[in-house]
């Protein structure tokens, strides 16, 4: 439970940090440091139980049962070690921030994300569920991105590189943990680690290992993916110190340590990690020698040191794991110190370039001393903790020959790896002294400088001094390191850390390191010349940028056809795909079954000929009004086709829709130029080709499906039973309101959305300025007397007609849709002559709402008889009419469609272009 409280405290603190920062400014770091210390105390309160009593603290809550994932936390030695680093260094950084940051507000984001990062990191190291572990991992990546990217444009590219590399590693980890949980049948990490045998038999076993290694190497900035880390140094120094030296980059180490039992007897796992780690250790140190910026030196130093740790994980013996754990700890101490001190130098002297800095020890003796502490620890000089961890590491590398996984007779492996390690450590020694000499040695150039206040250097002094104390008394760490090794490797091996182990081989190697490193330092000018001459022809960042930009360009190329404003360019692709698919489909076509009845009658061809003429004319015409007329002709011909096919309801609907379409279109077209804009000829030809191909395709398909079977069973059922079942004799209408009422309800909802959308799209006339007169308004001024009188007389008649059609719809052609269209025509006749702003008008919105509501509620009446929209057929003889629930439903349909028509007339009839378009593209 204490673990949840610890985590929750961090998250709450992260949430509150921005508000605190708004009041306290940069001083927010102090209360946050107190929170970090409090949480550290919570975790440390379990120290005795975990380390001395060898217990584990667990907390499990179901989280995503479908994935079997649980919110499981577990504190063992390894988690404890990393938690101490995360919280301890975090507290120091929080103490450091107030003096480093500028005065004033605006640091809320930084404090919030830093604290949230700590929470994420804590989640990562405490998670006992692989899904939770992955979530923590990704959150740390995200925080890193936000913190690096928070530096504005300068940080954009480095932040992107860091994010893509580490998030790519995150995907690899995700794949690995999914496979693991599938193979092991659980997402609990502690249970998975107990099933090494089961997992090793799975075919996924090597993939899991490879993906885990890739993930860890990307996070821990190992070659060749190291380049994001030096780049990320554009972030402010507290961020670099905390994320990119002490904690985030250790995430990879943590995961490798956690997963190492699974691959304990796999030589390849060990060899890959050792090879990558040692190469990175040496090359990273060489890169550090090339740099002049103190922060860059430290960045490459971090790359090198992480390589060192990962090589130790690769060795995998208990001694090596102990050394890895200790060095993780030691590195966090000295590297955080160095970063903080570089930040101080940067702030005080205004530069981080060792070619510009000189003799600072004369004016900043405390800073110089603390830097010396940390640098000596890094260089592995006694009596600092770095020396102890390096001794342990030498001992561990030498033990490679004795590891279980090492093939028999490969005794040279220990010597080889120890030799490379000595090389890396010598280079570390050299650049450690290079930092010291570069910043503090020589004469003072800037005499006006002085030591910063204690508040600034104290956060750096704590780990620097801790490095000395732990170097003198390393046995303090014995229980924790022992416990860490037990929880990592499941093997008991008492750690025996000491400053003095007697005259051992490791000591000899240490002496050798100091001698080589000293020589490299003494002859630093020649060494620097030599190192600077060795430059790769390209950097990792350049390669990354090339690939990254290539990927984006490829995506742009793929998406280009869709990035046109012209609808035609968008539609051509699906249409072309349709033709292609149909063409491919034709290849599989067997002989279609013969049609049982003739599919053509003599009169049909006359209609088709009319249709063809009208469509061709419509395609070619350049005049908008002529096009509208031709569209009406096409609609009427189609209505005739419907009639000839025995569908009078459809024909009626089509005719009415055609009338209303013309009315609405005229209202719109009067705002537009008379003629269409012409299109370039090649474009026209392409459109024509695609049009003909589409027509042929769809026509062929229609021919192949027309009349190839008998009338459907459901049609027979409907025709025979409809009257009995519903009391209606117009079968089409009974299908709409009785048999398939839910479909109709959905369609009516679509119409309601169209109507409401239209109301939103075009602002209400009364909300605009007084209308300048449009053509129809001119009619209202007196020119259209006939139209007005006719409207007054005919309108009510038409509306009455629509009511009659509505009532008879169940038995004869008619019904809600048709009646509503007729009523809409009536409304148009009455309203248009009066002009847009005259007289009372029907409210569209309430009509639509009432209609949809009525239809939906009527459907609910069906529950009385068992199910939604089940028609109630009891006939009530009211005024000689049959009153059924279907009729009420149809009234709902009626109201919605009338609402749509009214909305269109209302908003389009006013003589204005809406505000939105008034000053936009149209000038």
């Amino acid at each position: 439970m204490i673990l949840v409280w610890a985590l929750a405290t961090m998250v709450v603190a992260a949430g509150l940090a921005p508000f605190l920062a708004a009041r306290l400014g940069r001083a927010t770091g102090y209360p946050l440091a107190a929170v970090f210390v409090a949480v550290l105390a919570m975790v440390m309160s379990q120290y005795r139980e975990v380390v001395v009593d060898h217990e584990t603290i667990e907390y499990v809550r179901p989280w995503i049962p479908v994935l079997r994932a649980s919110f499981a936390l577990r504190l063992d030695g390894l988690s404890l070690l990393f938690s101490i680093v995360v919280l301890g260094v975090g507290a120091l950084i929080m103490l450091y921030c107030p003096r480093y940051l500028s005065a004033g507000s605006g640091h809320g984001r930084l404090f919030g994300i830093l604290t949230f990062f700590a929470a994420a990191m804590l989640t990562l190291v405490l998670a006992d569920d692989v899904v939770l572990l992955f979530v923590g991992w990704e959150l740390t990546t995200l925080c890193s991105f936000l913190l690096v990217g928070g530096r504005g444009l300068a940080g954009a590219k480095p932040a992107t590189r860091a994010f893509v590399i580490t998030a790519g590693g995150g995907l690899a980890l995700l794949a690995a943990v999914i496979m693991l949980s599938v193979v092991a049948g659980t997402t609990r990490l502690s249970e998975i680690l107990q099933q090494t045998d089961v997992i090793a038999e799975s075919p996924l076993y090597p993939w899991i290992g490879a993906l885990t290694v890739v993930a860890a190497l990307s996070k821990s900035a190992q070659l060749p993916l190291h380049f994001w880390l030096p780049d990320a140094m554009v972030a402010i120094t507290p961020v670099s110190a905390y994320l990119h030296a002490a904690t985030l980059v250790k995430g990879g180490v943590y995961v490798l340590l956690r997963f190492s039992p699974l691959y304990a007897d796999r030589p390849l796992w060990h060899l890959v990690l050792m090879a990558v780690g040692l190469v990175t250790a040496v090359v990273g140190a060489l890169f550090a020698m090339q740099q002049h910026d103190l922060k860059s030196i430290l960045a490459y130093s971090t790359v090198s040191q992480l390589g060192w740790i990962i090589a130790l994980v690769g060795v995998g013996t208990t001694a090596a794991l102990a050394a890895a754990a200790l060095h993780t700890f030691a590195h966090a101490l000295f590297k955080a110190t160095l970063f903080m001190l570089v930040g101080i130098i940067d702030r005080e002297a205004g530069s981080r370039d060792i070619r510009e800095l000189e003799g600072l020890w004369r004016v900043m003796p405390i800073t110089a001393t603390l830097t010396a502490f940390a640098a000596l620890s890094m260089a592995g000089i006694p009596p600092f903790v770095g020396f102890v961890s390096k001794e342990e590491a030498y001992y561990a590398f030498l033990s490679t020959s004795d590891a279980d996984w090492t093939p028999l007779g490969a005794d040279w492996t220990g010597g080889l790896s120890a030799g490379i390690a000595v090389l890396a450590a010598s280079l570390t020694f050299a650049y450690g002294f290079r930092i010291l000499h570069g910043a503090f040695g020589g004469r003072i150039a800037q005499r006006g400088l002085y030591e910063p206040s204690a508040a600034f250097w104290l956060p750096a002094a704590v780990p620097a001094v801790a490095g000395l104390v732990l170097g003198l008394y390393p046995q303090v760490l014995n229980p924790l390191v022992t416990r860490t090794v037990v929880d990592t490797a499941f093997q008991v091996s008492e750690a025996d850390l000491a400053l003095w182990h007697g005259f051992t081989v490791a000591l000899a190697l240490s002496v050798l390191t100091i001698v080589i490193g000293g020589a490299l330092f003494v002859r630093r000018e020649q060494v620097e010349d030599l190192v600077l001459r060795v430059r790769l022809p390209f950097t990792g960042a350049q390669v990354f940028d090339r690939v990254y930009e290539g990927a984006i360009r490829f995506g742009a190329d793929v998406g280009r056809p869709a990035r046109s404003g012209a609808t035609g360019a968008q539609l051509a692709w699906p249409l072309g795909a349709l033709v292609l698919l149909a063409g491919v489909g034709l290849l599989w076509l067997r002989d279609p079954p013969p049609a049982p009845l003739p599919t053509t009658e003599a009169g049909d061809w006359a209609l088709v000929a009319l249709l063809a003429v009208a469509v061709a004319a419509l395609a070619g015409v350049g005049n908008r009004l002529a096009a509208l007329g031709l569209l009406g002709v096409v609609g009427l011909v189609v209505a005739s086709v419907f009639l000839s096919l025995g569908a009078p309801d459809l024909a009626l609907t089509q005719v009415l829709v055609e009338i209303l379409t013309v009315v609405v279109a005229v209202l719109v077209l009067r705002r537009l130029p008379l003629r269409f804009r012409r299109v370039a000829r090649p474009q026209q030809s392409a459109a024509a080709v695609l049009a003909v191909a589409s027509g042929l395709t769809v026509g062929t398909a229609t021919y192949l499906l027309t009349g190839r079977r008998e009338r459907s069973e459901i049609a027979d059922y409907l025709l025979v039973e409809a009257e009995e079942a519903t009391g209606g004799t117009n079968v089409v209408n009974t299908v709409l309101v009785d048999f398939r009422g839910l479909d109709t309800l959905g369609e009516v909802a679509v119409l309601a959305v169209a109507g409401l959308g239209l109301l939103v799209l075009l602002a209400a006339p009364r909300e605009r300025d007084p209308a300048p007169a449009g053509p129809i308004d001119t009619l209202a001024d007196g020119a259209g007397v006939v139209f007005r009188i006719a409207g007054r007389v005919l309108g009510p008649v038409v509306v009455l007609l629509s009511v009659w059609l509505l009532l008879r719809g169940h038995d004869e052609p008619g019904g809600g849709f048709i009646a509503a269209l007729v009523a809409g025509a009536g409304v148009a006749i009455m309203q248009l002559p009066r002009g847009p702003d005259a007289g009372p008008r029907l409210p569209a919105r309430p009509l639509i709402a009432a209609g949809l509501g009525l239809a939906a509620v009527t459907g609910a009446l069906g529950f009385l008889d068992g199910s939604y929209l089940r028609p109630l057929t009891g006939e009530l003889p009211v005024l000689g009419l049959k009153l059924t629930s279907s009729l009420v439903f149809d009234v709902g349909v009626f109201l919605v469609v009338v609402g749509l028509v009214v909305a269109a007339l209302d908003r389009l009839a006013s003589g204005q272009v809406p505000v939105a378009a008034g000053d936009g593209d149209r000038r």
Partner: protein, 128 residues
């Protein structure tokens, strides 16, 4: 057969129009495609029987030659929905969405035919 030809004509015309510039022609193209789709719906029920499905007092013989009512019901709602879409597209045009960005409007809200003609001619090669 005749319905298939009608569908082919309507689809060809509709596709040609939706590939043009200007939302009005696109809207008209959609109307044609809507017609075509409705005819395909009817064709799926077969076109060999052509008596209207009004069964009040119909004999068995009449019922045997009656058209399939189900596709008709589908097509009926489809017609009205096509109308809704057409109205919506036209409202987009009215709201100033992409129809002839080149078009100039006279202050009275009435287009000047001569002017538009000229500007249309200018724009023949223009990008959309």
């Amino acid at each position: 057969m005749s319905v298939a030809v009608a569908v082919a004509v309507l689809v060809a015309g509709g596709v040609y129009l939706v590939l043009q510039l200007g939302l009005v022609r696109v809207a008209f193209g959609f109307v044609l495609l809507g017609h075509a789709a409705n005819l395909v719906l009817l064709a799926s029920g077969g076109v060999g029987r052509r008596t209207a499905p009004l069964v009040g007092g119909a004999t068995d013989e009449e019922i045997a030659t009656t058209a399939d009512p189900l596709p008709q019901a589908f097509a009926l709602t489809a017609i009205v929905i096509t109308f809704g879409i057409t109205v919506y597209l036209l409202a987009l045009v009215a709201a100033g969405a992409d129809d002839d960005p080149s078009a100039e409007k006279s202050p009275a809200g009435e287009p000047d035919p001569a002017r538009s003609e000229a500007s249309a001619a200018d724009e023949t090669e223009g990008p959309s």
